[in-house]
Symmetry: C2
Subunit: 467 residues, 2 copies
């Protein structure tokens, strides 16, 4: 046996016997070389041969990780992001969100859709009454009146939560981040809908978690049959679902599917993190129930926020963390300590006096109308065979382009060309890799205008040129 075979054999044995668990990081090439007093070339050879055996895998910039035990358990599907794609993603993410003329990119609305002046007045009044509100309760989990309004508003759609389990956060992103950290450990696998909101994918990566994609249908949401299969073969530490107004596909799951998902995970004691940011802006006459409404065991961490409903980019969110409340509280404390109280007080007043409910009703109607306009424009201007999701809630539509001369097209070059013309959108691969290279996400947050119509026509032209 050569040196590298000896080393590979030793590490392979550790993996097969379970000493090195799936998801564990293997010592670096340099470290392996040092331990066995061999060159880094030999060490690398050993690791590459283990990779060839399917025992470990290289992750860009992170090193080698132990895969699921070969032979005993099928490898779970994973999002395929190679290093080239990740480099592209970094560049594109740094561009998405920087201002451009026609804003089909971020999931946000025209300022005119929101009660900005009213909210501003409430903020000023609160700050005037008590200047100390500009700070935060030193160790608080949120302002009592605001929590009370979250509880009351949730009850309106049949979701029973208690103020004690609420942690107010700096936006829903923090709620998701703390929830994930509360229920997972480094290296764990987390099932998410595919395509998946790109910030969530980046978040999982930043936390050292592995995203396991579960197909998400534009009409029905997460495919529960696939999830059930994955759970048979793979240890999943948590599931994240955007059941209401899914980002990016726009689906709202049926009540039956919601109940089934919650029950499936409760049976297996797997925490379910619900991103319900868009629940209040779904288009059906009555607000669709949260997954959390079907939970009897405190296993659903219900995350929400106000930046899609009350005011664009307002950094005010929350999680009702059920039986994980103590863990989330502890993480909040060491992550951002507390959330400023001023906006909480103002939001509580707006929610209390009913103005918020009326505003939501109007906002939903306008978003539904804008979605219809956007969809029709895409149908008018994009090539035959283009598929557009029929969103049931939220801000965004998901578009899949037809093949050109029998070959799938990529929206990555389209992204650059569109930006040159001042038109923003989010390229599909950011939602999960090459599989979505022929897709794009369009924001329907702005009232329809001639400028938007022309922008969609221009986009359609660019697509046709590639064909």
């Amino acid at each position: 046996m050569t040196k590298y075979q000896t080393i590979a054999g030793q590490i392979g044995e550790a993996i097969r016997s379970g000493i090195l668990e799936p998801g564990t990081r293997i010592p670096s090439v340099r470290a392996v070389a040092g331990q066995h007093s061999v060159s880094t070339t030999t060490a690398l050879e050993a690791l590459r041969s283990l990779e060839g055996e399917g025992l470990i895998e290289a992750r860009p910039r992170s090193g080698y990780f132990v895969l699921n035990r070969a032979g005993s358990v099928a490898a779970a599907p994973r999002f395929q992001f190679d290093s080239e794609l990740e480099e592209d993603a970094r560049v594109h993410l740094s561009i998405v969100g920087s201002p451009c003329r026609v804003r089909f990119d971020l999931a946000t609305g025209d300022p005119g859709l929101y009660p900005l002046d009213r909210f501003g007045r409430l903020v000023r009044r609160a700050s005037y009454r008590s200047p100390l509100l500009l700070g935060a309760l030193a160790r608080g989990t949120g302002h009592a009146a605001f929590k009370q309004q979250i509880v009351r508003s949730a009850l309106d759609h049949g979701c029973r939560i208690s103020p004690e389990e609420i942690i107010v956060t700096n936006g829903c992103i923090e709620a998701l981040n703390l929830s994930l950290r509360a229920v997972t450990s480094h290296g764990d696998r987390v099932a998410v809908e595919s395509p998946c909101y790109f910030v969530l994918l980046q978040m999982l990566r930043a936390l050292g978690l592995v995203a396991v994609p579960i197909p998400c249908d534009p009409l029905r949401g997460m495919d529960l049959a696939v999830l059930a299969e994955v759970l048979q073969t793979t240890r999943i530490a948590a599931v994240v679902s955007v059941a209401n107004g899914n980002n990016p596909v726009g689906s709202v799951a049926d009540d039956e599917d919601k109940a089934a998902l919650v029950a499936m995970l409760a049976d297996r004691k797997i925490p379910l993190i619900e991103d319900d940011m868009f629940g209040d802006v779904c288009f059906a006459p009555s607000r669709p129930p949260a997954l959390r409404s079907f939970d009897r065991q405190g296993g659903v961490l219900w995350c929400g926020g106000l930046s899609k409903t009350l005011m664009p980019s307002l950094r005010l969110g929350w999680v009702a963390a059920g039986r994980f409340t103590a863990q989330v509280q502890a993480l909040k404390y060491t992550s951002t300590m507390a959330t400023s109280e001023l906006f909480q007080v103002a939001a509580a007043e707006l929610m209390e006096n009913g103005g918020y409910t009326r505003h939501l009703k109007r906002l939903r109607q306008r978003l539904a109308r804008q979605h219809a306009e956007l969809r029709q424009a895409v149908v008018r201007h994009f090539p035959l065979g283009t598929e557009v999701s029929h969103a049931e809630g939220g801000y965004v539509a998901w578009v899949r382009l037809p093949e050109a001369e029998g070959h799938p097209v990529s929206t990555r070059q389209l992204f650059t060309r569109a930006r040159e013309a001042g038109i923003g959108f989010v390229p599909g691969y950011l939602f999960g890799g090459r599989e979505f290279d022929d897709c794009l996400r369009l924001n329907a947050g702005y009232p329809w205008s001639r400028e938007q119509e022309e922008a969609i026509a221009h986009l359609g032209q660019l697509v046709k040129q590639r064909q």
Copy 2:
């Protein structure tokens, strides 16, 4: 050989050969039992015997972890927090900060010390001019005018930073948290001053990092000789230092020591995270330089914030992240996305027109006076042999109680008794374990009053009763 010995032998071999690296988590008792088809009792016996050999250690609620290789490298010192102590810590931390009559606990000042009304007016004016300021730049790293003021103010004390490397955060806690995550991986060791700010200790734990204590002298700060020794034998992923107005001991390090610390770490390419929250409230005539001023390689992540200077509990902080800027930006994005702009605009205006500098001068003088009053009261009322730190900056004083009848006393019971009398302080063990059980931290943030004098007298009585 019995079964447990076989299992222990196998895992032990993996540790000794370096396959399982120091800091790695060992599979759970249940997992080990499953892998080897033995009972959990046998598996536990195997892990306990490895613990006895000094190869692994149990961490409460986290499982077993591989220690530094026995025999080859001396084990680094670690903070000793057993499970009983951690349970106490959880209880005490949940109490510290909840309101009590005499607030010697949190490091915060009387509202009368701050320009609350003025800041409130600036906030109202900004929100009136642009209601959208209530939100945040979707992917921004902070408001340009605020960053500019941070740069200018840093330059006043000889610290050159650029706006491009600043990430504005929800308080300095988020700055520290993101900085740690940017430069470490799960299981890494981080050197900190001992005693250590309790939130930082909790943060390290929450991030799966191991705190390595470096003694911190109330006059000179971090002991660089000990640090140098530790660096010889232990892989340290980062160092965190509160060089100006250390929390809890109050020291300001000499310029020579600051330069030496920065150079020592630059040589070894170890990132230095500087918590400079108290740099602006040190009592010397001129503001002491930041560690960052001595950095020529972008290896110092300079963290600051306004809640100790402009307004209590204001969630507005920042980090100038040097060569780690891209990493911190990415983590900010997936942790809390962005920071609300309103307070940034108001703070920038206050800092720009000079009112802030005048305010800081007054605040420093008042804090210095309050420190003197507090120290004298402790000397008057506490038993002979009590040591009180002579803080050179910040809000807090560090007190060590003398032995009682030849035995060290604990401030944990004192904490409970004092709270019953409405008097808050922070018990010493929260800053690093039993070693500081005879210590307490007192806040000097409130103007001296008869009530405070009586509270210190009462505390002194309680201490004497234990003797």
